[in-house]
Symmetry: C2
Subunit: 425 residues, 2 copies
């Protein structure tokens, strides 16, 4: 389907055919959902061994009774696992409750209100964050709630546009943070290049002293391929530059074990950790150590974790393949859509022709297919080109992903042809 070389008659004929097909989908009373990066029930079942795994032994490796209060940093073996995931030492990692989003929110709350190893953001005016976009809507929501001004930065195949990032930060000391999902970025699925990691580690040399990189390594071990491209170690890069305090790292087991019931990790320099812990200890006596212990019995080390993730990959890969199959079959020979083929993570990021994302989502909704709202992947929910749609194929069955993608490609074509006809006439 080459829109640019097609006659008006050809476009009208296509439009008719696509409309007929759209109506056929409508008649099927579909109820499909590709909105959220949720694991499927099959994936969750991989970790059902968690319940009952303790067999009456509630003692952690250092003989702590995990059932009682205390232990703000989490149990040692959980911190060790977090360290392995994040490429850190055990004493650079806190193992917390079930949500890394909560730890990010706490970090921002503490940095804003009290100062996290530096001046409190509230004591400065017009605080700003750099937001590589498309990105993760929940990151942006935190900024919006705090009234932190978000500056969008373009995403490239190697990570955020670092020329843009560096020049913005150099020019403006009121920029206090940048959101990064460095591996299988949400939603584009790319891995930050070694050069990007190095340049991010250098930001601490020019940024404000209370600037922090929020390094959300949510998909650190969520590979779909056997020999995944490694992500460079940000802490090692920071140490080389003397900027260890400029980065705070996050990860969790949420898409490893049970999605809402895992362990979250925060990794940082010792001075950042000390500052975080000071305020964390005001708000909590300690995390759920029993649940941490359950996780460690299920996944005692990084090798057990890797084997576990391969089982996830076996379930996820066919779903991703189905998405990509439809995109390739329909858009590889034309300019109606652009996407990347991720080697891990939870998303396929699709860019339509400019100005069509909202219309495509509306059309899909019309026939019972829920897609992530257009714009959700941009700060303030505003995609300036209205073209990005995040596809999340993990939760539905392969058959449902297939059915959804048939609808999706038809909606993309229908919207594209409609736009072309509107311009042409």
């Amino acid at each position: 389907m080459q829109l640019n070389s097609a006659s008006k008659e050809q476009l009208s004929q296509w439009q008719e055919e696509l409309k007929v097909k759209h109506q056929q989908f409508k008649n099927q009373n579909l109820k499909l959902d590709l909105t959220r990066g949720k694991p499927s029930a099959q994936q969750l079942t991989l970790s059902d061994g968690l319940d009952g795994i303790l067999k009456g032994n509630y003692k952690s490796a250092d003989d702590t009774d995990t059932r009682n209060y205390g232990g703000l940093e989490g149990i040692a073996e959980a911190r060790q696992l977090g360290a392995a995931i994040l490429g850190l030492e055990q004493d650079q990692v806190l193992a917390g409750g079930s949500s890394s989003l909560t730890m990010m929110h706490q970090s921002i709350t503490f940095a804003y209100q009290f100062g996290l190893n530096g001046t409190a953001w509230k004591d400065e005016s017009d605080i700003k964050f750099l937001c590589p976009a498309p990105g993760y809507d929940r990151h942006f929501s935190i900024c919006e709630d705090f009234g932190i001004e978000m500056i969008p930065v373009a995403m490239t195949e190697t990570g955020p546009d670092m020329d843009q990032v560096e020049s913005l930060i150099k020019a403006d000391q009121s920029i206090k943070g940048i959101w990064c999902v460095p591996k299988y970025s949400n939603p584009t699925g790319i891995i930050y290049s070694d050069d990007t990691v190095k340049r991010i580690a250098k930001l601490g040399l020019v940024a404000a002293k209370n600037f922090r990189v929020f390094w959300d390594n949510a998909y650190a071990v969520h590979d779909l391929v056997d020999h995944p491209k490694p992500l460079a170690n940000i802490m090692a890069a920071c140490i080389a530059e003397g900027t260890e305090d400029s980065v705070i790292q996050f990860a969790s087991t949420s898409k490893i074990t049970h999605a809402g019931s895992g362990i979250a990790f925060l990794g940082a320099s010792k001075s950042n950790l000390a500052a975080f812990k000071k305020h964390l200890g005001i708000s909590s006596i300690g995390p759920d150590k029993v649940n941490q212990l359950r996780h460690m019995r299920l996944l005692p080390d990084i090798n057990a974790l890797t084997a576990h993730m391969q089982q996830h990959a076996a379930l996820l890969k066919p779903r991703f393949d189905t998405v990509l199959k439809h995109l390739e079959a329909n858009f590889s020979d034309n300019d109606l859509g652009e996407w990347q083929s991720p080697e891990g993570g939870y998303f396929v990021s699709f860019d339509s022709l400019p100005g069509l994302a909202k219309e495509i989502v509306r059309l899909a909704d019309e026939v019972g297919v829920k897609l992530t709202p257009a714009g959700a992947t941009f700060p303030y929910g505003k995609d300036p080109q209205d073209r990005n749609i995040r596809l999340s194929p993990s939760f539905p069955s392969v058959e449902d992903v297939d059915a959804t993608m048939q609808v999706f490609v038809n909606c993309v074509k229908l919207a594209s042809v409609g736009q072309k006809l509107a311009i042409t006439s």
Copy 2:
């Protein structure tokens, strides 16, 4: 031992005898600890059935797969249990993570930063809290961290001195909160009288619009007696006055099941809840629903909970009795100490003669007995009369509580006699 009618010689002789005994304790190389309100291992074991209780059935009553993301308010049956504990309706309660302290901290963060159904505290100057004292040190720490000025209020046998509370609040709209532990108050163990509850419900009529009562009902079901004195329902009292928005309630299962791994509850009016949830949803996708489900399988309703708490009481009562036995045997016929005999909760609050609490704690530490630091129960850690010591007998064995109390009463006497002698000479 009547210090006031004793001669100097008598005092000196007592001092000698007490010092000898103190030295004997020292020679025993004791290692005893009465500092924290932690359940004992025996108590924790009462809930060991939690692990493995799901038997592969991870569905909540409404067929939600608790293993996946979502459900910000917690599962319905957990909210129902929280409602039963707090005397509320299910839709007035959120079931959260493992820490009610975290929910209190969140409430204050949201009220301070964003406004919780009212003007944000940060937009007003010189924010203050009323702090009935002696009280819970972790409440005071939150205020201190936020730079909220704490105004101590006297505790009586019926709750905070309400004359003082009312006149302070009427005179000063910058008072934004009051901390209350209404049942088995930490540490005095008293239950707020019906009149106190009614007067607290009326505070919303005269206080600032963004004033909130932080009603930490931590010991709501933690009775030591068979027919506990009931606490009046604060929400019912507020409804009668039209002040439903003036109170936020908290509770948790931390001293019901495993101490760090339970469910926390927040209860409030619908408009307060909506405001809380708006910001909670920015910081979390939802609580650990699997753990909530485990709890509901173990404690399906309030009757199961009551039976469970009776098992706790059977373990706790001998420990409290031991503390009281020593206090009564040594101080009932003199003025060296004052205390109340709590019918529930986790503490016995002891008041020495003025100016001696620090010295008593120091003396006990000298012979290997750790007590809660003197002053900890007051704002800024400063007991103006230096006389309150919080005794927490739940964690040690009955034998250890007995040994500790032998040391304690000797330290109280030694400090008292020493003070008297210093005045006399």
